[in-house]
Structure formats: C-alpha cells, structure tokens
C-alpha cells in the first residue's frame, strides 16, 4: 500500500475540484479508500487498469444492482481486494432532502469505502467499493431507509428523466411522474435480469432532450405538442428592442423555414404546418415563445452505444402518444417490445440490432403499428421490395 502518491498529487492542482482530494479525505479514515488511492496511483504509474473481471455477487432475491469487482494485486491492496459497487435507484429528477442524503452517507460510511458517484451516467447513485460480505447488510439497511437497488446486467436499467415540470417551463409531459411510475411498475424487470441484454428507458420533457435520451435509451420518450407553439408578440418585440437580431438568429435558423419576421408590423408569424418543433425559437426567446397546448410525447426506439453493431440514435416509432397516468398505452407497448425481443434476440443483442436483423417491418407488424412517413428520413431508394402476395 502506497503512502506516497506523487502522480495523483498533481491532480490536486488547478481550479476544478479534485477527485483525488476526495479519495484522500476518505483514505484518512477508511482502509478501502486508502487502498483505492494506492491502486489508482499504481495505474497512473503502469498505465493499465488493475481491476479484474467481476464475479457474480449480489443480494438475496436480486440478480442486478451490484457490479462485482476484484483487484488484480490483492496482496498489495488487501483492503480493496474486493471492491464491488452498488447501484442505488435515484429518486426521479435527482431531487433530495438533505436528510435522505445524510442517511445514505451514514450507511455507506459504515458498510463501504465512503466513496460515491453522484451520479452514475445511467442515473443511479453509485456506491463505490465494498466487500462481498457487506453487500447484504448494506442493502438491508438501505431498504430500511427507503432506498432500493437499480438495474444492471441483462435487465431493465434504472429509468431516468429530465427535471421536467418540476422546474422547466417547456416540459410537455410529467417526466418525474412518468419515470417514477414506470420504475415502480417494472421493479421485477429491473432487479431480475432475464433478457438478451440491457434495456434502457429515458424521458425528456421536450426536444432539447436534457437527459440525452435519444442517444442512450432503447426506449426514448420525448415530450412534444400537436398544435401550434404560442407566441407572445409583445414579448417578441421586447427581445428585438433589446437588440436580438431576430432575422439572423431565429428566423434563419429555423430548420423548416416555419417563421417569418415582418419587420414592418414587428410580428413574428408561424407557418404552423411547417414547424417541426425543434425548440430553437423557444430556446432563444423563452419569454416570448412557448410550446403548444395539446401535449404528449414522441416515442423513439433503439438508441445505444457502439457495442456490437455500432452506435444508434433512437428513431421514431410512435409520432404522438398522450402521456397520462396510468400510462397504460406506454406500458403495453413496452411489454410487447420486451416479449418480442426476449423471444427473438440473441445474447448481447440490443433492441436496435434485433430490429435491424429481422427488419423494421416485422417489428411494426409484431407491435401492431401502422407504417407512417414520420418513421423514416426518406423512403427507400433501392428497388429490393418484398410483397406478400
């Protein structure tokens, strides 16, 4: 175990808060944290990771929520020889009372390294580093306090949504309510992996997509509206008076030429049918333009990172769906998707890859959905067309 960390010390310099300082804080009072520091210094020296593939560890009744991890030099770093992480399902929107946070801190100081990620990039609270023995008691205490594990492995991963109606004027759906409801409904799917691979759900309240759902979720929910966005002409004029070059910065950047600025009447006109609800004009003039009134969401599917067939962005499956409790239409769709994927997917085949392999047409038929032009950027160019005759 190294007491000297000359390489890591370099990372305590500079204005950005330092994670090294954070580990050192814990290292003073926690042996596992101290060994973590040593392992990290070792990696900085050797320029390779010193973690081995994790074994299967977990808590009773669950198959998910814990990432097993072992150090490759247990003799040197005995207190971090096993260093599993626990994924704790965050409350929707990442709001906390200090009371709940302090509870987690106390529990983790007792059972783990005291190091955490607030948050993991799926959205969970990541409690970083504990032993196999401590997993169950830690879990028991956490659930006592009202916290449960999130997803991992070939399961539904912890759903996440943007701050939405809690603090954002643009949210067309109640992302927090929806995410909480889906999370509660699908507890079994989150905790007991049984699918070909992982499955992610994310919801953003509007097309700005502040949880990057379109890039990271197999099932992407993005709030939108069916009618016309609302323009407050007086407020528009206010922006223009304050110096906004509305022609150059708003009208010209509208992707579908849906806006016309009448300099004479000082009126911003919307060609309602042409608007593709990109959010740009709203973003630039939040006091003057707002989404419409007939709200709902576009459902897209297939987003994921590069493994195995390359990265995908989610694509449109349902152009418009009303999103209101008890969210039955969405839940039905999710269940149908899982059933089909579970039946047809190969091991480590994400939904997008399965659809690509078996065909979007097949998928649509199985889902009972009609093809609509909104699903494609453009129709096919090749003449290799199947007909059922």
């Amino acid at each position: 175990m190294a007491d000297e960390t000359p390489l890591l010390d370099e990372l305590e310099k500079g204005p950005w808060p330092s994670y090294v300082t954070e580990i050192k804080r814990m290292a003073k009072k926690n042996a596992a944290a101290k060994d973590l520091l040593g392992i990290q210094e070792q990696s900085y020296k050797d320029r390779v990771t010193h973690w081995k593939h994790g074994g299967i560890v977990g808590v009773t009744g669950y198959g998910a929520g814990v990432i097993g991890r072992y150090c490759d030099s247990p003799e040197k770093f005995p207190d971090a020889a096993s260093f599993h992480t626990m994924r704790i399902n965050q409350p929707a929107g990442w709001f906390y009372t200090t009371k709940s946070l302090r509870t987690i801190c106390d529990i983790w100081e007792k059972y783990g390294s005291g190091m955490t990620n607030f948050h993991g990039s799926t959205g969970d609270i990541i409690l970083l580093g504990t032993t196999t023995e401590n997993l169950q008691p830690c879990f028991d205490t956490l659930t006592e306090a009202g916290f449960d594990l999130g997803g991992s492995g070939s399961a539904l991963r912890t759903p996440a949504g943007c701050v939405g109606q809690a603090r954002c004027e643009w949210s067309n759906i109640d992302t927090l309510g929806l995410i909480h409801d889906l999370t509660m409904e699908f507890q079994d799917e989150i905790h007991r992996p049984r699918w070909p691979y992982k499955f992610k759900i994310k919801a953003s309240g509007c097309p700005n997509d502040c949880v990057a759902a379109i890039a990271r979720a197999d099932f992407t929910i993005i709030g939108t509206w069916r009618d016309a966005l609302r323009i407050d002409q007086a407020a528009v004029q206010e922006y223009v008076k304050k110096g906004l070059d509305i022609q150059e910065l708003v009208v010209r950047r509208c992707p579908s030429e849906a806006l016309v600025w009448d300099a004479k009447t000082q009126e911003l006109k919307l060609l309602v049918d042409d608007c593709v609800r990109c959010m740009h004009c709203i973003n630039v003039m939040p006091k003057a333009v707002r989404p419409g009134i007939e709200k709902g969401a576009t459902i897209l599917v297939g987003g994921k990172a590069p493994i195995i067939k390359g990265a995908y962005l989610s694509w449109v499956l349902v152009p418009f769906m009303k999103v209101e409790p008890p969210y039955d239409e969405m839940k039905d769709l999710l269940r149908k998707i899982w059933e089909w994927w579970d039946e047809n997917g190969r091991t480590r085949e994400r939904l997008a890859e399965l659809i690509e392999r078996l065909g979007f047409k097949t998928f649509l038929r199985e889902m009972g959905l009609k093809p609509v032009p909104q699903m494609v950027k453009y129709p096919r160019s090749n003449p290799y067309v199947f007909f059922d005759r």
């Binding site: 310099k13 954070e22 990290q40 992480t85 449960d148 905790h191 509208c254 939040p286 590069p306 990265a311």
Partner: protein, 354 residues
C-alpha cells in the same frame, strides 16, 4: 432481511415547497448570471437555482458538506443535474449570494449554464473498471482545469458538451457529444490459453467478435482460441465475455478524440460525434496532448462559429476539410470509415473546399 422491490423514494418527498406548489406551471426563465437560473411560475412565484460543479467521484463527507449548504439556505433540499452538477434551489433571491459564498469556501465553482462548458459526462476508468483503456476522472480533472473559464462564464457560441469514455463501450452520451474523449486499445487481445479453458465459453467468445477475428485454436487439444491480428480492431468485446483475453497495454492504450456530436433536436437533428484524432498516448497524471487538443478545438470553435451553432453545426457549415485545415490535425486512413455502413460516408459530390 431487507425489503425487496420497494423502488426509489417517491420524488414528491424530495421536492422543495416552491417546486411542489408550482409544479407544471412554470412560465419562463432567465439566466441572470453564469451558474444562476431564475424560473418564474404562472403564479408569479420565482425560484432561483445556483449550480455548482462537482468532481462526481466524491466522498460521503463531500455530500455532507453540500447538505450543510442546503440546510442553511434551501430548507434542506437540493438536486443534481443530468451532468452531475449540484443545484441549490431557493425562492429567496437574497440566498443566491450566500449560497455562492458558501460554495466558494468549499472550493466549488459556480457555473455550468449555457452557452459554456458544463461538467464532463464520464465513467469509471482505472478507478473501477476492468475494461478501461484510460482513466476517466483524471482526464476530466485535467481538461476541466484547462477550460475552467468556460464553466464559470458563458461566452461560447453555444454550449459545448464534453464527454469522456474510458473504453469504446462509451458509457454516457459519448457518441453524441460536441467533444468526446475515448479510451482506446490498439493492440489485439492476448488469449491466456490456460485461463480460456477454465473461464470462457469458446463458441460465445468466437461469436462476440464483430469482425470474425477469433478462431478456434488450430491445435485441437488446446481448447482455446487464437486471434487473427489483422482482423482485430481492439474493441474488447471478446474480453467482456472472456476475461482471459486482456487487451490493456501501457503503450498500446491511449485516447481518441471525436467531435461534432449533439443530442438536442434544436435546429439540426441529433448528430454522432466523428473521429478527428485516432490516437494520443496515455500520459497520466495530466494527459497534456489530450488537454491541448481539446483546448485547441474549443478555441477555434469559439473564434469562428456563429451564435447558437454547436460544434457539429459549425463544422457542417465550414466543411470537414476546413476543420482539418484550421485545426492542423492530420487526416489519415483511420478517419475513413471501414465498418458496416462505411460507404454511406463517402463524398458523393464535387462540392468540397480546397
């Protein structure tokens, strides 16, 4: 025995009063200064948000520190953002300065609002992952130190989302970031034949390879595999299913840089990030080549893009050839796609710049 399937706490319990009261009825917002948001509700109520940077990998004591601030000024509530920043919400304008002052004491920067650089979405790296080709937290610290001014100020054409993935699994929205820093291996896996027998399913291992580079060991008695090295592009997928095929290598591992991705539907549709630097060496603790490359790209973007143009939109307008010319990044064979849909990336027009 713990309870199972209780799920996360109901978020309603976590909301500050002003949020609960005005839920779903927010009207507009302003950004009075970098790191501070002001949201006004239909009711006339106002909530101020102070946003602070965080290293994400934090001790429980760090959490307690920020809880102290929230207890003092925010009635015991706080939230985190989708990019790990901490948000302190208060209906009371006067608290804003007090919160900022307390954050200063903790050494936490206030900022991260648009148009600037917010926190870097990142991953585990050498801190916890067996797959890592580089460290994430260290790269983040080194880069954020360098672009710090853009976190605390808002003077870029639009926001620049930076992400770090420590291997090509790209945990995070790395593949759709304005600037993405990705750990890469560049040497094929080295099957450890004794362990392959013990730990791996051979058919699964062979199937895991996207390019079909893995074959049964020619010596049937070996019950192991060999890698056809010229077919391997070091993705590590085999290592994920078979731990006996490590690729990590002090010299071979390093960092690639991708640029021009975005997620929002604003103006242009979402875009993938594109590789611009295939390889830079791993040079902990501060990865000077990587940091300088990121800085240079940010600087050239800042000086040349039009307002609201994201990095990718700017490059689309000026053309990739102009991007490479201006950044003086050499264009190589590696830049030309050769995966499944490669042919869709070839330039099927005479429209280009010299």
């Amino acid at each position: 025995m713990g309870r199972t399937d209780i799920g996360p706490p109901d978020f309603h319990e976590m909301l500050p009063d002003v949020i609960k009261k005005n839920y779903g009825t927010w009207k507009y917002h302003e950004i009075p200064r970098p790191g501070v948001l002001k949201h006004v509700a239909e009711s006339g109520d106002t909530v101020y948000t102070v946003r602070a940077g965080s290293p994400r990998l934090v001790s429980v004591d760090f959490i307690r520190d920020i809880c102290d601030i929230a207890d003092k000024h925010c009635d015991g509530h706080l939230r985190f953002t989708s990019r790990y920043n901490i948000e302190f919400l208060t209906p009371n304008e006067k608290n804003v300065d007090l919160i900022i002052a307390d954050l200063k004491k903790l050494g936490l920067p206030v900022g991260g609002t648009s148009p600037g650089i917010s926190n870097i979405v990142h991953t585990q790296g050498w801190i916890h992952c067996h797959s890592a080709a580089t460290d994430a937290s260290g790269l983040v610290k080194a880069i954020m130190d360098e672009v710090y001014e853009h976190f605390v100020e808002t003077k870029l054409p639009n926001h620049v989302r930076i992400a770090v993935g420590c291997c090509i699994n790209m945990c995070g929205a790395v593949h759709c970031s304005d600037i993405a820093v990705v750990g890469v291996h560049t040497k094929p896996p080295r099957p450890d034949h004794d362990r392959v027998v013990a730990q791996c399913e051979i058919p699964t291992t062979i199937q895991s390879c996207p390019t079909g580079a893995i074959r049964r060991h020619p010596d049937q008695s070996m019950k192991s595999v060999v890698v056809k090295e010229d077919l391997c592009m070091y993705c590590g997928n085999c290592f994920t299913v078979c731990p006996a095929m490590p690729l990590a290598d002090a010299e071979g591992d390093g960092v690639a840089i991708y640029v021009g991705g975005k997620v929002p539907n604003a103006r242009k549709p979402p875009m993938f990030s594109r590789m611009v630097i295939p390889f830079l060496p791993n040079r902990p603790p501060r990865w000077p080549e990587v940091v300088q490359a990121v800085k240079k790209i940010v600087d050239i973007y800042a000086a040349n893009a039009k307002p609201y143009e994201r990095v990718g939109e700017w490059i689309e307008r000026i053309g990739w050839e102009a991007f490479f010319r201006r950044t003086e990044i050499p264009f190589t064979e590696q830049h030309i796609d050769d995966f499944t849909h490669a042919v869709e990336t070839y330039r099927t027009t005479t429209q280009f710049k010299w």
